[in-house]
Symmetry: C2
Subunit: 223 residues, 2 copies
DNA sequence: ACCTGAACACCGTTCAAGT
DNA sequence: ACCTGAACACCGTTCAAGT
């Protein structure tokens, strides 16, 4: 079955490269060193090959990054479907955040690409499906799904950016604290303890809860 | 007053470069060719100088990008303050989107940097101020402001990404349409007409309205 | 003090040539 | 068919040297 001599013609040597393994190696490299250090040359090195060889499998680096984003989205499993629509929608948003957090700079990779693969489309299908089945119109379901996804991307982008300077160096919170307390920002000063919290999950949950509460008022106009 | 011979010592030739003019030129270049084409060498060229000279005014390219983001934020004028808190908050969010839209790839520049300058902090101060004066707790004001800013960034990032492929080439909507209609995505198919609308403002307004409605339920728990 | 010139250590991408 | 080697046209950044 998996014997290369019986499965397909396969004349010549078996290839040392393929799309799936290359994407996997690229995601490992991403986790190890971050997006800025992910170059075609370094990826080729990790695969034991010259940089030019990658271009037989990916037309450009952007195509590779798109394949990486699609691979991240394909890993998402929608949580159990028994709950009501607001729990299911929240679960999808949390799953998206987790999928992006699973790889260093995951949100940056996702935000910089536009996959139309089954993972990405499947996730969008789930979001709009939950909303349409809850009774929202096609247009409202589309726009609500966009809002949830875009809030999640915006949030996770900043969450991972804060992680970048986490260890050593003048950490981001310190710089912000200094800038705020030096000037005349009374409201920001009051908000600062919350803004500089290490755990970003409550911030995400708060924004998500606002969107869901807003959607609920849309379903029950005045009650 | 502005005579260089009386204002300051200024021995030697007057400098051909300064921070403000460099940032302005960089923003012009951004509008003309986009972020990917904005290199230190091309910027130096536009200023009639060698690339190395820029490093006397900006420690790194990232510092330049941060200054550009700060310049964009400094241009924001908060809309008139007579309205109620929800209108003022929406006005701030709209002003942020407009400021990012004012420059090609503006959202990408902003999302990739972390200015702590007066423009950026002043905007954050306005957002938290509106919310705290409306009676929200410090923590809720902080998190609500984060949600509004992050939704706006997430939205504008995608809005400008869609603009990138606007003219010529296989435009993004077409690719999406083809991918969706080929597979088994019934909900996405229903949502497609809305998702592929050219005008993105309604999408933004919808998400913003959801956040504001969510905040209103927080103020009046059950009524 | 301010800028040039030139270099260093890289990039993404292409493509003839080898096997 | 698949990969190498080498090149092309760039990058960001540094720094002695000039003026």
């Amino acid at each position: 079955m998996s014997d290369p001599s019986t499965s397909r013609p396969a004349r010549g040597r078996p290839p040392r490269l393929d799309q799936a393994r290359t994407v996997e190696t690229a995601l490992d490299l991403l986790n190890g060193s971050g997006l800025d250090a992910l170059t075609m040359r370094r990826l080729a090195d990790a695969m034991g090959v010259q940089a030019g060889a990658l271009y037989r499998y990916f037309r450009t680096k952007e195509d590779l990054l798109t394949a990486m984003a699609e691979r991240m989205m394909a890993g998402i499993r929608a949580p159990a479907g028994g709950a009501d629509w607001s729990d299911r929608l929240s679960g999808l948003a949390r799953a998206l955040r987790q999928a992006l957090l699973a790889h260093r700079d995951g949100a940056r990779v996702f935000a910089g690409t536009h996959s139309t693969g089954p993972g990405t489309l499947g996730f969008a299908e789930s979001c709009t499906g939950v909303l349409r089945e809850a009774g929202f119109s096609d247009a409202d379901a589309a726009r609500a799904a966009l809002a949830v996804v875009r809030l999640t991307i915006g949030h996770t982008l900043e969450e991972q950016a804060a992680l970048r300077t986490e260890d050593g160096s003048p950490a981001d919170p310190e710089v912000l604290r200094a800038a705020v307390s030096s000037g005349g920002y009374p409201h920001l000063t009051a908000a600062l303890p919350t803004l500089t919290e290490a755990d970003q999950a409550p911030h995400f949950e708060f924004g998500l809860a606002l969107l869901v509460a807003g959607l609920e008022t849309l379903r029950q106009p005045r009650r």
